[in-house]
């Protein structure tokens, strides 16, 4: 579904990604793990069109989307639940959801999608008129996911969705992701919580200093000695 080929990304003179290649199959959960600053977020932002790659191709369902602006990429069906949630704090929950549905392809089905999202996260419908900045961390994460779903994506990239959440809520969020995947959604998951993400992933890549150093099924990596030592502290 998504093929990243030999992708390099620079910020000014600094290189963030160095020839990264990976493949995401339809219906899969692909985990990307790596230390702070390894380039995970850069990868996601580049796929999403928020940063121009220096070289490489990003092929999504047959079209090369490298260098397209983010609104075009979103409209093609790549959704994103970004690092730090990135909700609109002074807008209401309802307005936040609306903003997710500004994409041309999603606009006509705004009402249905909204009902679907609110059914999925009843907590949000209770707070529909509240400014999003006043929500708790977990609720904000739900809002970010809900907002993403409003855009009818075919692929969702999650960037550290559990960051800063209490363990019980982390559980909820990860369960939501599993549920979405069970419903047919293709997911890319970046998580600090390496153990968990490898456990639910069908395929995983380890990113180090902007390079893919290991890849394989989630279970394989979980068993890999290097991974265990470097990321699980065992």
């Amino acid at each position: 579904m998504l093929n990243v080929e030999n992708l390099s990304v620079h910020y000014g003179d600094a290189q963030a990604l160095d020839g990264v290649s990976l493949a995401v199959d339809e219906g899969a959960i692909v985990a990307i793990v790596g230390a702070n600053g390894a380039g995970k977020t850069s990868l996601i932002r580049t796929i999403a069109g928020m940063h121009r790659p220096t070289s490489g191709r990003i092929v999504f369902r047959g079209t090369d989307i490298a260098g397209l602006p983010s609104h075009r990429v979103c409209d093609l069906g790549i959704g994103q639940v970004a690092e730090g949630r990135q909700i609109f704090p002074s807008l209401t929950v309802s307005e936040n959801l609306d903003m997710g549905a500004m994409l041309p392809h999603a606009r006509p089905h705004r009402a249905q999608n909204r009902d679907r999202v609110l059914a999925m996260f009843p907590r949000l419908s209770e707070r529909i008129g509240q400014a999003a900045g006043t929500l708790s961390g977990g609720e904000q994460q739900m809002l970010a996911i809900g907002r993403c779903l409003m855009g009818e994506p075919k692929l969702i990239m999650f960037d550290e969705p559990s960051l800063g959440l209490a363990p019980t809520i982390v559980h909820d969020v990860l369960k939501t992701i599993c549920d979405l995947n069970a419903g047919g959604m293709t997911c890319v998951l970046v998580e600090q919580n390496v153990a968990v993400s490898l456990k639910i992933a069908t395929r995983a890549y380890v990113l180090e200093n902007g390079r893919v150093t290991l890849s394989g099924s989630g279970a394989d990596l979980l068993a890999d000695e290097r991974v265990r030592q470097a990321y699980l502290g065992i």
């Binding site: 910020y11 600094a14 290189q15 230390a35 502290g233």
Partner: protein, 240 residues
Amino acid sequence: MTALLSINGISKRFRGLAAVSRVSFDVSQGEIFAVIGPNGAGKTTLFNMIAGAIPPDEGTITFAGTRTDGLRSDQIARLGVGRTFQLVRPFPALTVEDNVIIGALMQTKTVRDAETIARDTLARLDLFDKRTQIASSLTLPDRKRLEVARALATGPKLLLLDEVMAGLRPTETDRIVATLRDLNRDGLTILLIEHVMRAVTALASRILVLHHGAAIAEGNPEQVLRDPAVVESYLGAESL
């Protein structure tokens, strides 16, 4: 051993969220002390309070016999507390050497001496060859080392390191670990935040574990890493 740094019941809240609550501990002269805990546990906030970047809501901080809570961060730095930032903050448009010279100018009045100190420090951190590069063009591991170099160049008595190993490869980690050990042997006291257990176990003589802002364990590495509460909340993340 005397306590170089002594934290007494400090707390910090952000709009209702208790980022750090009633944390107390002492760091003795010459030891390496580690703070660990899950993301968002309040480790960086704790550092920020020690370094004076944010004032604590309550509690006291004493460094080398001086009350430092309420002082500005530059005053605390001049008392001998060097720090790094978790999200690295080198001076982006300056060269590596200039970055470190700025740190070194805290110890000395002349640029010439500062240059000497800067070069020594850079050599110690394997950055000497890159000294004429612009800081923003460095790779992340180099920028992290640069952070350490700048903090070291200030000639601190206490060095606060916030996840300086994160993102480094095991070999690089080992190098930094060795450097830090060296420095420690020369008398530097180190307080570090780290997720990389390999480094923590290699370095720390004592560990404090934070969880949801509160200290849940403190002691030597063997004890702490076996503490069931710690395993559950932090290490044993495999429990889903």
